[in-house]
Amino acid sequence: MKVLVAVKRVVDYNVKVRVKADNSGVDLANVKMSMNPFCEIAVEEAVRLKEKGVASEIVVVSIGPTAAQEQLRTALALGADRAILVESSDELNSLGVAKLLKAVVDKEQPQLVILGKQAIDSDNNQTGQMLAALSGYAQGTFASKVEVAGDKVNVTREIDGGLQTVALNLPAIVTTDLRLNEPRYASLPNIMKAKKKPLEVVTPDALGVSTASTVKTLKVEAPATRSAGIKVKSVAELVEKLKNEAKVI
């Protein structure tokens, strides 16, 4: 079966972002960018499905600026077969992204679409669910285990109280949680080979999708900072402070 994986270019998770002085957003100039960690897990899962003989082709798609080609090349180096970049310099909301992905899904007709559960920049946790709604497919969100069995996929999901397993009819949408797998690293020969793999660039207009949004960001501020604490010397002093100063125990 064909598997489609969506990846996003985001600020590297180790970067401590700073809010711009004019409160228009966070400062992304000269900041290290990477593939969103949940997307890496999605690519890894697709590659494992291919290694098991379940998936026959892995198509990786990203929506974003020209520079997102770097993340697509990374995915190709990890084992994806070909890539599609929907090039858009606009900042898109999840619904716009889901609509663009729906257009790609219509064209590619994958049996399984794997996305990360959330992007670590916008922290929305929406795109997979929205894509599932738009395409009318079942959704297996926050997956920690994925097993394709015939025309169904069994997805074990991380829920608040523990784990839940659902059986979804294919085609289906799966979003990855952290514990689904441990993503591999790209080897140098594979990085070289990835440069020769096909990468198609399309525009939202060519897909016939309008990405107009009903939500706009008015301002972005730094969170309130905590006042500096103190270091105590002993457990006795700590307990005394918690009892008499902070009055929390």
């Binding site: 972002v17 922290d123 523990g162 939500v215 969170p223």
Partner: protein
């Protein structure tokens, strides 16, 4: 216009997060209706009727809703939601699973995990793991929103007397089926609702050592959490994880034991009222957010702590 709150419940009881979500609805202003969709959910609906501030409870009782499968529930919420100005749900794993699907069916953007209401169309939400707070405005006809429970004080669970009204429940969409679940069993308070949380990290060294934290937690009446490192190492199950990808907590007191304080962990606990860090590395980033820091070996400090409280 009225506000529809999608209740979080276990069929037999209403989840605490629903009370925080009703509080957010009150901050927006308007009539508040609560939808209880489930199977045999009469008790949960009755509890919803008693919640202060709720004017009507809609009950959709159908076998198809037994396990909150989004393929079955989202069409119901989207259909009912068309008559409302806002649709709210708690940003729990269930709310996050269902609401974006509802928003896409209504062709509107969704606003995730709001922590404050500025006005009926303007909200604050954290982005970049809580390192920035965005103020967003929605012009959508129906505003679909998930609410971070720790951002709002819960309304009273008693005192209301809303009418309970049955609505026509939808059927099974035939796209998905519930297979089974494995719920972690715990007698301690629920992590996201606890007044005190004691969390352990990689410094605990193994799962067995968590018994020291359980003992301390039981003395304090606290819930026990963990960092991703402790979960990944297999010390404790994943539903105990506090952080950007785990649970967001904001207790009165958060005690971080053997946790270095990575950005992703802080995202889940830095709104706690008082933070205590116990770590043997005095340069650990956790000390930068801790109100009280103790540089000590946790295996000596925790039993001593337990004896003193």
């Amino acid at each position: 216009m009225a506000i529809l709150v999608v209740a979080e419940h276990t069929n037999a009881a209403l989840a605490g997060a629903t009370l925080n979500t009703v509080a957010a609805a009150q901050a927006i202003g308007g009539d508040i209706h609560v939808l209880v969709a489930g199977a045999g959910c009469g008790a949960a609906a009755e509890a919803a009727g008693k919640v202060a501030g709720v004017s009507k409870v809609l009950v959709a009782d159908s076998a198809a809703f037994a396990h909150q499968l989004p393929e079955n529930i989202a069409p119901l919420v989207a259909e009912l939601g068309k008559g409302y100005s806002h649709i709210l749900a708690a940003a729990t794993s269930n709310g996050k699973n269902i609401l974006p699907r509802v928003a896409a069916q209504l062709d509107v953007d969704q606003i995730s995990e709001i922590i404050a209401v500025e006005s009926a169309d303007t909200f604050k939400r954290p982005i970049y793991a809580g390192n920035a707070i965005a103020t967003v405005q929605s012009s959508a006809a129906v505003k679909v929103i998930t609410v971070r429970a720790t951002g709002f004080d819960p309304v009273a669970a008693e005192g209301g007397s809303a009418a309970v009204e049955a609505v026509t429940a939808g059927g099974d969409a035939g796209k998905s089926a519930f297979v089974g679940e494995e719920l972690a069993k715990s007698d301690r308070p629920e992590l996201t609702a606890a007044k005190i949380v004691v969390s352990g990290g990689r410094g605990m060294q193994n799962g067995d050592n968590f018994k020291h934290l359980y003992a301390l937690a039981d003395k304090l009446g606290a819930a026990v959490g963990a960092s991703r490192a402790a979960v990944d190492a297999g010390f404790v199950p994943n539903d105990m994880q506090v952080g950007q990808t785990g649970k967001i907590v904001a207790p009165e007191l958060y005690i971080a034991v053997g946790i270095s304080g990575a950005i992703q962990h802080l995202a889940g606990m830095k709104d706690s009222k008082v933070i205590v860090a116990i770590n043997k590395d005095e340069d650990a980033p956790i000390f930068q957010v801790a109100d009280y820091g103790l540089v000590a070996d946790l295996f000596e400090a925790i039993p001593e702590f337990e004896n003193l409280v």
